[in-house]
Symmetry: C2
Subunit: 115 residues, 2 copies
């Protein structure tokens, strides 16, 4: 699903990763991270896709909420020794969706075909 | 591949989409858009993944470069009547990767396992 985000400004956390072979509990951990995100007041939505490369973009109201989530997530990750079991490589980017790019992009989600 | 982006600030264009069934020339068009992007001075990289949802994130030095690319892309799209052939829904977000989130994220790509 395409996340239903509010009017900007808000923040996007872009997590790009290349997995090692095998799940090794990664799906379960990912589900848990998403659950943790949803419990945060200020979490706005998440989008995820994977082929060889995986991209997960989560959307947030402000940096403080991201920080809280990240600390909880880091704690769980450390407990699971997760990253080295799951990822060959990963990169985290945090970016601010501004409200001043209206000349550059469509204002909202486009529904081309109704289901 | 995870894009090798420079030190922030730079911009991310996050294109999220749900496809209609069948390719209908979409792959070819996507390849052409990526080629057009690579020809732009100021294009920094691109990452793409798709399951049911597709996410393509392209990275750019500044908003002007995005504007130029977008105009060229819109022109090609119009010629191909592309969007209605390819997408059920899509959303474009533009966000600025800042340099002030260093407490919040890892500074660069993490290689957990060398190939």
């Amino acid at each position: 699903m395409i996340a239903k985000t509010p009017k900007p400004p808000y923040y996007a956390v872009i997590f790009s990763s290349i997995r090692v072979d095998g799940d090794n509990g990664c799906s379960e951990m990912t589900d848990r991270m998403v659950e943790m995100a949803k419990e945060q007041n200020g979490f706005l939505g998440i989008e995820s896709a994977r082929n060889e490369l995986g991209i997960t973009v989560s959307y947030w109201r402000d940096l403080n909420v991201i920080k809280q989530w990240k600390e909880g997530a880091a704690h769980s990750m450390a407990r699971e020794k997760g990253r080295s079991k799951w990822y060959k490589k990963f990169k985290v980017r945090i970016a601010k969706e501004g409200s001043d790019y209206s000349g550059l992009k469509e204002n909202d989600e486009h529904t081309v075909h109704e289901d």
